[in-house]
Amino acid sequence: MFKQFAVMVVATAFLAACSSPKKTSDADSMVGQTETRDDVTARADTSDDAASAGAVGDVGSTVVLPAELANRLVIYFPFDSDALSAADLELLAQHARFLNGRADLNLRLEGHTDERGTREYNIGLGERRAQAVRRALALQGVAESRLATVSYGEERPAMSGASEEVFAQNRRVELVYGIR
């Protein structure tokens, strides 16, 4: 049902260079540990979503979006701004209408920035963008409990590179549909 992904913790020793024999024996042994976490929003890998625009979700629980929304799942922003344009608001109103007719769905709003500026402050800017989209959807009647936000700041760019075009592609909020 839920995709899973593993986070590998590689335990190694950093006091390899330490003068105590006890610590050195720590250094010489490798301790491995694997943790597995449920990927409860059913997306372990963003490229899967990108490759299947409009069909989002788990194996066996695919959300099929209407054609007019299927490849309109990203809102882009100007530099240092969380302002939504009239066109963005119109698109979000369409998403809200769809959501309001589909009580089985929820929506995750992933806020992103370009790579300029400090990383942790950019987490704040990404959160502001995600919240701007959340408020716009809530104003269209979508229950707040169905809208989750996460800010990745500059940590998960859509595109690599340092041109203005790349930056513009990376300043975004991604709308990720899921089954409640």
């Binding site: 986070v7 335990a11 003068s19 024999p21 400090t118 402050y121 987490i123 919240q131 996460v150």
Partner: protein, 409 residues
């Protein structure tokens, strides 16, 4: 300017010590002091490793020394390497002032069988301190994040290495972002942010054992952890349901949480003063991001401490509490700046277009930071006086968010 001999020597050493490993860093001095002290480091007798080269590299990399043959040097380091019956190693070494003939150091260091590099770094620290009268941080460690692959298919690694970039180890690997690594004051733990659960959470990980604790996974933002100097508390950034970021203080043992800032602006990037009596943080309550200082108790009133320019963020405080390092933006360029907290004077130390994440070495003499060169993340260091700039280049991947660990006992 640094002379050709040092450049050649460094190049030679880079070739000798380079090991093909994950995101191994290579060091390249880009500027240095005008009048470095000439020192000669003889290969240690019976050394199966290259310990003397590690000592040479440390001293040369500091920018305060130039490594030469003994007849053109003021100081001489010699040593003898001996294996012990229990498998450990021993190095007897001497530091001589060649101008006076005086023996300045005559010491013995023992280390575990794999620990010859650390032994060499400790010798370099002793020599540096004996000659210059101030501490160095050669026998310390750094942590950083390495990213491989093109967006959106990226892999994130948390890496710990010796301060010279050697001896690197991956301690955590994830397909989701890792960020904000920071050392506990005792050097035992790293705190960091991981998005492995598809939302942000702050983890603590014991570096030697990989024991791991998820310490903050509240709804929304969990970010920017910073240890209090006594190691009992973490300052960190959490968000309200409406997405407002504020700095909080979390007691590590009990989990008790105190909200420190209360403002609709973004308040984040906390850093403790070394005396534990205040926290510096970034806030855009005045429009753009600026640095503020607040007492670590609920209800305290912050005061602004950065004034020049319209973007000052990500503060870190020097170990003596007298200098503030941060990122400043000038004409679209993001650079490391340092502010004297006594008289308020500000100097820009770095020269990149997009520098970030500055932090002090435990001796306070050097800052490490992240830079971008031709689209690649690199680490760099600059001396706190701005005279010595270096690049640490990774073989593979973007490297970023360096954190310099404390002195080890």
């Amino acid at each position: 300017m640094i002379n050709t001999a040092v450049r050649l020597c460094l190049l030679l050493m880079a070739l000798l010590v380079a090991v093909p490993s994950e995101a191994q860093l290579k060091i390249d001095i880009t500027s240095g002091v005008t009048d470095p002290i000439p020192i000669s480091i003889q290969p240690f007798d019976a050394d199966p490793q290259t310990s003397a080269q590690v000592v040479s590299a440390d001293l040369a990399r500091s920018g305060r020394f130039v490594v030469r043959e003994s007849r053109r040097a003021d100081y001489l380091v010699t040593g003898r390497y001996s294996p012990l019956s229990d498998g450990r190693l021993q190095i007897d070494y001497e530091l001589t002032n060649l101008l006076t003939g005086q023996k300045l150091l005559r010491e013995r260091i023992t280390a575990g069988p794999q620990a010859w590099r650390n032994a060499a770094h400790r010798i370099a620290d002793k020599v540096y301190e004996r000659i210059l009268g101030v501490r160095s941080s050669f026998a310390t460690r750094i942590a950083y994040v390495s990213v491989e692959g093109r967006a959106p298919e990226q892999r994130y690694r948390l890496i710990v290495a010796d301060a010279d970039g050697e001896n690197s180890r991956v301690i955590l690997e994830s397909r989701q972002p890792l960020m904000s690594p920071t050392w506990s004051p005792d050097g035992e733990w790293l705190a960091y942010v991981s998005f492995e659960s598809r939302s942000a959470a702050v983890y603590l990980q014991r570096v030697r054992t990989a024991e791991r604790r998820r310490i903050s996974a509240r709804a929304g933002v969990n970010n920017a952890p910073a240890w209090s100097p006594d190691g009992t508390r973490l300052a960190l950034t959490l968000s309200s349901p409406s997405g407002n970021l504020d700095v909080h203080i979390l007691e590590v043992a009990s989990g008790a949480l105190t909200r420190l800032t209360e403002h609709p602006a973004i308040d984040t990037e906390p850093a403790w003063a070394p005396d534990g009596r205040s926290i510096f943080f970034t806030s855009d309550r005045g429009g753009g991001p600026q640095i503020y200082q607040i007492e670590p108790r609920a209800g305290a009133t912050p005061r602004r401490v950065s004034f020049s320019g319209n973007y000052n963020a990500r503060p870190r405080i020097s170990p003596d509490g007298r200098q503030l390092a941060f990122i400043t933006r000038e004409g679209g360029l993001y650079r490391v700046a340092i502010q004297d907290l006594g008289n308020g004077s500000v100097r820009v130390l770095s020269n990149g277009p997009q520098d970030e994440s500055p932090g002090f070495s435990p001796d306070g003499g050097t800052l490490i930071y992240a830079a971008r060169e031709r689209g690649q993340g690199v680490l760099a260091t600059v001396s706190a006086d701005g005279l010595i700039l270096q690049r640490l280049k990774a073989d593979r991947g973007d490297v970023r968010e360096p954190a310099w660990g404390p002195f080890l006992p």
